[in-house]
Symmetry: C2
Subunit: 132 residues, 2 copies
DNA sequence: CATGGACCTTCCCATCATGGTAAGGTCAAG
DNA sequence: CTTGACCTTACCATGATGGGAAGGTCCATG
C-alpha cells in the first residue's frame, strides 16, 4: 500500500513516516516503479508500535531501544521494565515540576482581586516582591 | 554593566539575553564605544521578571503580555488573573496527560516480571495486544 | 610596550517532534 | 487529454536553549 493508506491505518502521519525512515527508526521502505514507497502488514505493525509508544511519552531514542527489544527474542523483560521505569521517573519529575508551578500560580491567582484595579500579587511576585 | 554581569545578576544567560533582544522581548540594549551592550538596574529588573515568569512555565508570548501589563499603570488585575488562569489550565492539561501516561506505564510495569524471560506486558501492549 | 586572558561581538548549527509549503512526478477515471 | 488525488524531495518553521567558531576589546601583569 501507499504511504497515505499506511498513515491512515497506523495513525502515524505520512510526514512522520518519511521522517522516521530518514532518521533510521524504520527501515527504508521498498519502492514501486513510480518511486512511491510501498508498505505491508509488517510495516503497519511497526508504525502502530511507534505511535503507541509516542502516546505513552517515550522519546524517539527510547523507542529505538524498545523496537530493538521487541524484535529481540532473547531479550529479558528486565530490560524493558528498566527502560520503562526510567521513563516513569522522567514523567514524575515533569509532573512534579508542573504541579509546583500550578500550586504557586493558583496561590497567587487566589490572592488576586481580578477586578479593575491594577494591584496584583501575580505581577508583584514576578517583579520580585517577597510572598505575602 | 556588561552582559555577563547582567546575566549573573539576573539569572538569565547572556545567550538568552541576546535572544530576548533579537525577538523584541526586551528593548535593544545601548552600546558602548566597544560595541558591548550596556545594562542598568532597570534592565536587570526586567530580566529577573522574565526569569521568574519562565520558572513558572509562562511562554515567551505570555511573558510579552505580562511585561506589557507590568508596565501598564491602567491595567486591571483581572487581565493578569485571566492570563494566569489560562496558563494554569494549560499546566493542568499537561499534568493530566502525563499522569495518565504514568498510570498506564506503572500498571504495565507492575505486571512485568522484570526477569530473564522475554515475556513482557509492556512490549505486548505496544505491539497492540489488548490489556490483560 | 607587549602579551595573555577574560570578556564581548555576530553567525551558524543542534536539539525534539512535528507541520507547512512549494515544485514537480504518477496514475486512474472521466 | 485533462483533472484531481496521490506521491516525491527539499526547504523552512516552531520554542527555548545551548554550543562553538572567528574575531574584536580591554585590562593587568611581566
Amino acid at each position: 500500500m501507499q504511504i497515505g493508506e499506511a498513515a491512515r491505518l497506523s495513525g502515524v502521519s505520512a510526514k512522520m513516516i518519511r521522517h522516521y525512515e530518514a532518521i533510521g527508526l524504520i527501515p527504508s521502505a521498498s519502492r514501486r516503479d513510480s518511486n512511491y514507497r510501498d508498505y505491508g502488514h509488517h510495516d503497519l505493525h511497526r508504525l502502530a508500535f511507534i505511535r503507541r509508544a509516542r502516546e505513552l511519552g517515550f522519546s524517539i531514542a527510547e523507542i529505538r531501544d524498545l523496537l530493538r527489544l521487541w524484535g529481540d527474542r532473547s531479550r529479558s523483560s528486565a530490560e524493558v521494565k528498566q527502560l520503562t521505569e526510567a521513563h516513569i521517573g522522567a514523567l514524575e519529575a515533569k509532573i512534579e515540576a508542573l504541579t509546583e508551578m500550578r500550586a504557586t500560580l493558583a496561590h497567587l491567582a487566589e490572592a488576586c482581586g481580578g477586578d479593575d484595579r491594577p494591584d496584583c500579587p501575580i505581577i508583584d511576585r514576578l517583579a520580585g516582591a517577597a510572598m505575602a
